[in-house]
Every structure is written in C-alpha cells, then in structure tokens.
C-alpha cells in the first residue's frame, strides 16, 4: 500500500460522509422488497418444475 493507515482512515471518513450526503439526495442503497423476493423465488421454482417435468418425461 502506498498510503499510511491514518491517510487511509481520513479518505474513508471523507468517503463515508459524501456517501451519506449523496444518499439523502438520491437513494441508491435500497433494500430488497418482498415483491422482488417473491418474483425471484417464483422464477427459480419454475425452473425446478421444468427440470422435474423434463426428467419425468
């Protein structure tokens, strides 16, 4: 590493502050919604059903 720990820590603090400020203006750190979870699991289940049908045929 070219930087010392204190320089790294300073850059980290600056970065965290900017990220939090940025977040207040335009959120990017969004949580996953239940709707997305359900649609994703449904897609996976469909693949499993297709696989099960393929082997039973």
């Amino acid at each position: 590493m070219t930087s010392t720990n204190s320089e790294w820590r300073q850059r980290l603090d600056e970065r965290l502050e900017l990220i939090e400020r940025d977040e207040a203006d335009d959120p990017v750190h969004a949580p996953l919604t239940w709707r997305s979870v359900v649609s994703f699991v449904a897609a996976l289940t469909t693949l499993c059903i297709i696989g099960a049908l393929a082997v039973s045929l």
């Binding site: 070219t2 850059r11 939090e20 977040e23 959120p27 990017v28 969004a30 499993c48 696989g51």
Partner: protein
C-alpha cells in the same frame, strides 16, 4: 488530484475495501449479466458436466443442471449478493456484520481459501492434462494422464497464474476480456462439432458412465452436485455485485449470467462425456475438430485454465489480506499470492486424487457454503431487516459495535457447524449414506434452513437481547424503501 493521490485511489480500488460512491457503481444490469456469464464459462464447467453424467443420462443431466443450479445459485445470491450490493462494500468487509472481524477471517481461511485452493489445483492439473494431450496427439508422444509431466505442467500453470496474479486485477481483467469471449466461441464450436459428428438420438440414448443401482439416488446426487456447483460462486459474487446500482440490477443479472454460462458449458461437457467418454475437450478436440482447429482450441483452453487460477486467486488473496490485516497485512501482494499457491502446487503432485475426489470435494464445499448462506440470510434479512450500519464495518477496538465476542459471532459459528453436521446427517458424500428425504429436498436446502433456524434464537440470546452486535443501531439506510 496529484499523482500520489491518484495512485492511492487506484490502490484502494484494487486492493482495499472502501465503500463505493454512486458514480463508481458502474455496472448496468446488462454489464453484470455479461460479467457473470463470462466468469461462468470457465474450463471447470466441462468437468461438472462430465461428473453429472457419471450418474444420469443427458435428459436427467439437463434436469439436474436446471434444478441444482436454480437452487444453488438462488441460495448463493441471497447469501452474498444483496448485502454487498446494498452497502457498496466488498463482500468480506460486509460480512463483518454477520461473523465479526475475526469470524470473517476464520471463514475466509477455513472455508474460502481451502475451497479456492482446491479449485486452483484442479485447474492446474487440467492444464497439465491438456498440454500432454496436445503433445500426444500432435507429436505422437505417449504421456500418462497422471504422470510426472502432468504434475510439472500443473506447477508451470500455477507459477504462470502467480505471475499474472502478482500484477494485480488490471492484468487479470485485460486477459479475461479475451479469454471469456474466446471460451464462449470454443464452447459453441465444440457443441457444433459434437452434434455434426453424432446425432441427437445418440446423445439422448447414451447411458450414464458410472451410475449406482438406485436411479432415484443417482438423480438426487446429480442434483445435489449441481446445487453445490451453484453455491460455489458464493466467494466471488458479493464483491462484484457492489458495482451495480440496485438490488434488482444485481439479483436477476447475477442469476441469468451465471445460469446461462453454466448451462451452455455444462451441456457441452455432458454431451462430450456421454458421446466420447471424456468431459475434457482435450481428449477429443483434435480427432473431431482436425489438427489445426483442435490444437488452437486446446491451447486456448489450456491458457484459460491459467487465467481462471489467477481470477480465483485474486478474490481469495484479497479476502485473506483484508480480513487478516494483522497477520498478513505487512506482506507484499506478490508474497501473499505465492503463499496462496503453495497448497495447489502440493496437490498438483496428486493429479489422479484431485480428479477422483472432484465430486466429493465440490459437494463438501457446498455443505459448508449452504450453512454459511443460511446464517447470512438469517442475520441480514431476519435480525437486521436489511439495515447494516455502514460506519460500523470500518470501526475498530472498543468503538466497534460489531465486536460480538472477541471479534467472533459465536452464534454464527455454532450455526455453521450445526448446519454442516446436519448436511452429513442427511447425506454423506463419502459413504453415500442418505436419508429418504434427501431425494426430495436435497441436503443443501435443509442445511440452509437449519443453519438459519439455529442462528436466529442463538444470536438473539447471545447478542441482540444484550444490545451487542449493533443490531439496534439506527442505520443511515434504514428508512430508504425505494426499490432499485
């Protein structure tokens, strides 16, 4: 910005675990799909295809690939992608919220490094076998597939991978820009060669290569093997997902890219194993494709093994460096990379062992990762409700709210051990003893569930109720509900 500052930022991006700014999250859904597909089309996928049809025919193999990868990749995505994606933080830094700083180091060294060293040695052996095959076919040599030449060439591949790896991620990225599309072309070419040399009926009628007597057990083991194959992406996907801008832009592309890449390469591996008796393209590319196409393709596949070792090594060495700063922090990157290569180099002396134990190795790896994913999902989605205090991931000493017990979340470790033992109770890949439920649920799904079920009450008892582990911290992101 001065040159020194620029260098520092480049170093941070390459070797550090700073959280990303919004403008640094550069991957669209399309980009991430392509990247995921590129990493999935790797040479080991031929082997997983070949191993699948040891037990089942092409139809069963296709079904096992669909079901196993849907389950394995689904669990893996919930256990890696969302946490890092939301925070914009490298995976092993983010996992501090689950395991504690020391706990992550324990997971990295005992689970991740062991698994990735195993894969690296296997790729080294594949390189050795590929080049000896070229020598045998092009120059009429008669080198043994498990002989000393394979070991020496395997060592050469490992040294070459170390050379690339020691130059950092930019060198690996530049090489992979050519290797991934090249492999995709070769996979399609191989499939076309196979289907022009054999009929689809030949493929569908081909018998599994080495099945057990019980057909249902054969299919269940094939599915379990593919579940483990899907889970095997856990060590790398979180850190890649942090470069995307929303959970949906991470979730679907991660799955679609990995699934499509695996399906294409694995189907080719299955077809070649069933039709020619060997999943590795090295054994038949020259006779089927002719000397020029065959040797060129073989050389490319052999080289792709080297870049795969380097790519695996990068994510693992970075994880070791970041999670064990006090132990390995002072070592130079190239030295750390050399340490990573020691075990693969030793294993290269036993090429037949690595090939014969490939299936057991993958399944046992999956057992551990399924339990880890169960704990991560229970912690992130159930106990923390997707609200992780970003600043706490970088806190140290007495200020660190994620200290748990001496830096280790005991509840997480106990749950992983409990989940892994439960896996062996449901299905033992060494003795092949299995409970009847294994044929219906696989062993990975119950392991994932059991690890999570053990974790929630235990962690509540040890940490949440005692206001330890930062579970009641107001996260700066807790109030955001916009979907990405």
């Amino acid at each position: 910005m001065t040159q020194v500052q620029n260098n520092a930022v480049e170093q941070d991006a390459a070797y550090s675990s700073m959280p990303l700014f919004k403008h640094e999250r550069i991957w669209s859904a399309f980009d991430f799909t392509w990247v995921s597909m590129s990493v999935a089309i790797a040479t080991w996928t031929f082997l997983t295809g070949g191993a699948t049809v040891l037990l089942v025919g092409f139809g069963g193999g296709l079904a096992a690939t669909l079901i196993g990868n849907a389950v394995g990749m689904g669990i893996m995505i919930f256990g890696s992608v969302f946490l890092s994606q939301r925070l914009g933080v490298e995976q092993y830094r983010a996992l501090k919220s689950v395991f504690g700083a020391v706990g992550v180091a324990v997971i990295v060294i005992t689970v991740v490094a062991t698994i990735e060293m195993g894969w690296s040695s296997l790729l080294g052996v594949m390189f050795g076998r590929g080049v000896t095959e070229i020598a045998n076919q092009a120059f009429g040599a008669s080198l043994e597939p498990n002989g000393v030449v394979v070991t020496l060439l395997g060592l050469l591949a490992i040294i070459a991978a170390w050379f690339i790896l020691s130059r950092g991620p930019i060198a690996i990225g530049r090489l992979n820009k050519f290797v991934a599309p090249g492999l995709l072309i070769i996979v399609v070419l191989m499939l076309a060669l196979l289907l022009t040399s054999f009929s689809v009926t030949d493929l569908l009628d081909a018998k599994p290569l080495a099945p057990f007597e019980d057909d249902r057990l054969n299919f269940a083991i094939a599915v379990e093997f593919n579940v483990a194959g899907g889970l095997a992406w856990w060590p790398v996907m979180g850190s890649m997902a942090r470069l995307t801008r929303g959970p949906r832009a991470a979730m679907w592309p991660a799955f679609a890219g990995l699934f499509a890449g695996t399906l294409i390469a694995q189907v080719t591996g299955m077809a070649s194993a069933l039709l020619i008796g060997n999943a590795e393209p090295t054994s038949w590319m020259v006779p089927v494709g002719g000397p020029i196409i065959g040797v060129c393709a073989l050389l490319f596949v052999a080289f792709a093994n080297v870049t795969s070792i380097a790519a695996i090594g990068y994510s693992t060495v970075l994880a070791i460096k970041q999670t064990s700063e006090s132990v390995f922090g002072r070592l130079r990157w190239s030295v750390l990379c050399a340490i990573f290569m020691v075990l693969p180099a030793v294993l290269a002396f036993f090429p037949d062992f690595m090939h014969e134990q490939f299936m057991t190795f993958v399944v046992l790896s999956g057992a551990a990762i399924a339990a880890v994913c169960g704990v991560v999902v229970a912690d992130y989605f159930v106990l923390r409700r997707q609200a992780v205090p970003l600043r706490a991931l970088y806190a140290t000493g007495s200020d660190d709210p994620l200290r748990f017990t001496g830096g280790v979340n005991i509840a997480a470790m106990v749950s992983i051990v409990a989940g892994s033992f439960f896996y062996l109770f449901v299905y033992n890949p060494v003795t092949l003893a299995a409970l009847p439920v294994f044929e219906l649920t696989t062993a990975s799904i119950p392991t994932f569930v059991v690890a999570g079920l053990v974790y929630v009450p235990l962690c509540s008892l040890l940490y949440v109720r005692r206001n330890l582990g930062g579970y009641r911290l107001a996260s700066p992101f807790a109030m955001k509900t916009t979907e990405g």
